[in-house]
Subunit: 302 residues, 2 copies
């Protein structure tokens, strides 16, 4: 992984389930132009990926010798073409060796990572797209070992040792929050238009650390509303605190370890920062730029 100038124009694409983002990068990796579309892979009929790609980025690809790397769910079975998972432990070099070329030396899919869990049954886990953010974030933070957290629909907790991802775990925190707040009985009591309420959020984090199951704690979102102990506008923050707190509950990050690296949008990393600090765990945040840094580094190594 180097920062050396890259002689070819690099087009970095992050094609996820619900969105399609791209950046045209300069010879030092700087973002010259970026675009974002609501054209996640779920909106693309089979066989139409190439057409959709050129429709949105064809002009960029006209540059002589343009090199395009695509990360995310575009490499899944439901995507452009399946790029088999790269098994962990895996580092930046393994990722580069497993690129799936759609057009030789011109367009490639970045594979996701898989790992076998540390439980007795070695339950598998997978990621697609986060691997690029991880290596980008490590470069930005100047570290080669870290615990990284990528909050989102499916949060990832990742262990990196000496530049290689050794183990990771997915938590369905974001999706469970969306389901409960929009489709469950809890949705009848809470007001999703309420502003973020830090006190209610921290109260939820605290409650999640007490004995009993999250399946029980969740019902308090209803009863605290029913008994007017929390306002309808504060309940979404309380629910968020409960679920993020549950995700953090059994993490084995010691308080004197190096700061956890959080990667994500501001709204989410703010909540995780609050929860982690409340539990005495230091952290630092990085934004979506990690994706472009990671893809540029991969392109540089091609």
């Amino acid at each position: 992984m180097t920062n050396s100038a890259h002689p070819r124009p690099v087009i970095a694409i992050d094609w996820g389930t619900s969105s399609l983002r791209g950046a045209r990068l300069g010879t030092n990796g700087q973002v010259l132009e970026s675009r974002e579309f609501s054209r996640g892979i779920l909106t693309v009929p089979p066989g139409q990926f190439e057409a959709v790609f050129y429709e949105h980025f064809g002009d960029w690809m006209q540059a002589e010798a343009a090199l395009c790397l695509i990360s995310g769910m575009a490499g899944s079975r439901q995507g452009w073409q399946e790029a088999p998972y790269c098994p962990c432990p895996a580092g930046f070099a393994e990722l580069g060796q497993h690129l799936l070329w759609l057009q030789p030396h011109r367009i490639a899919l970045v594979p996701g990572l898989s790992c076998m869990g540390q439980d007795a049954l070695h339950t598998p886990d997978v990621m697609r797209g986060e691997e690029v953010q991880i290596f980008g974030a490590l470069q930005l933070a100047g570290r080669d070992s870290a615990t990284l957290v990528l909050p989102g629909t499916h949060s990832k907790w990742v262990q990196v040792e000496h530049g290689r991802v050794t183990q990771f775990s997915t938590f369905m925190t974001g999706e469970v929050y969306a389901l409960l707040s929009q489709h469950s009985i809890l949705g009848k009591t809470l007001d999703l238009n309420g502003a973020f309420d830090e006190a209610a959020f921290v109260q939820g984090v605290d409650q999640s650390q007490t004995a009993g199951s999250v399946l029980h704690h969740l019902f308090a979102v209803r009863t605290l509303g029913l008994f007017e102990r929390l306002s309808a506008a504060a309940l979404p923050s309380y629910l968020s605190g409960l679920l993020i707190g549950e995700e953090l509950r059994q993490q084995t990050v010691s308080a004197d370890a190096a700061p956890v690296i959080l990667i994500g949008n501001n709204a989410l990393t703010l909540r995780y920062t609050l929860a982690l600090q409340h539990l005495g765990i230091a952290c630092q945040s990085l934004g979506a730029e990690a994706t472009w840094v990671g893809l540029f580094a991969l392109a540089t190594a091609c």
Copy 2:
């Protein structure tokens, strides 16, 4: 609570969120006739409860001196009229004293129960309808102290000591199962038409007892499908085992305690019986008849 013959015809009604059930009981509490309609309170416009009631049970109410008791969500804020919760500890006598008479000595709503949790914040919990099943089940089992479990959309774990409900906890197990299997990404991998798979269910129960959060374990429903370690038809049973196992994970029932009393339909009590026995906890099951027994006993005491 007695079994003595009751001189007046008793109409027992269980009016919940999604269904309306009724039974006409004989002088010894035996079910003479029963009816069930898809007319839960969510289908009834405000002000129409009396009309809907007479539409379905008016003929039964023509019997001279008929006495009707109604339990369930009909007594909630969204129901016929709000019957305020009876605070725990509460026994059969307190329940009888807090009946809300809609027509004096003729039609009454049975109140639900509330309790304050044993956590530092005394988070409240509530039930409506289950209280009648609890007292009915105790009578059927000939016990006045027990741990009772009422599986369902919102499972209830209940402590009864010397005939009084002292504490209970709600778990959103059934609702979370429905949301995840029907509306989450997990729904894309699992086949809800699969028959119940006992081995996969028990595998889920085992996984739920291991370290880590249920928010992580849930993602295995996706990856075990993706890696073809479980068939699509077996995945719903695995998910069910994970969630029921999570509900059971921190229960403090000791293996040498008297059997837990399970109240519910056959399909659900079978799963809870499997999970409890797998974890070394003895149990006995009772069906919906507990509702009629409980309402008849309340009517007898009027």
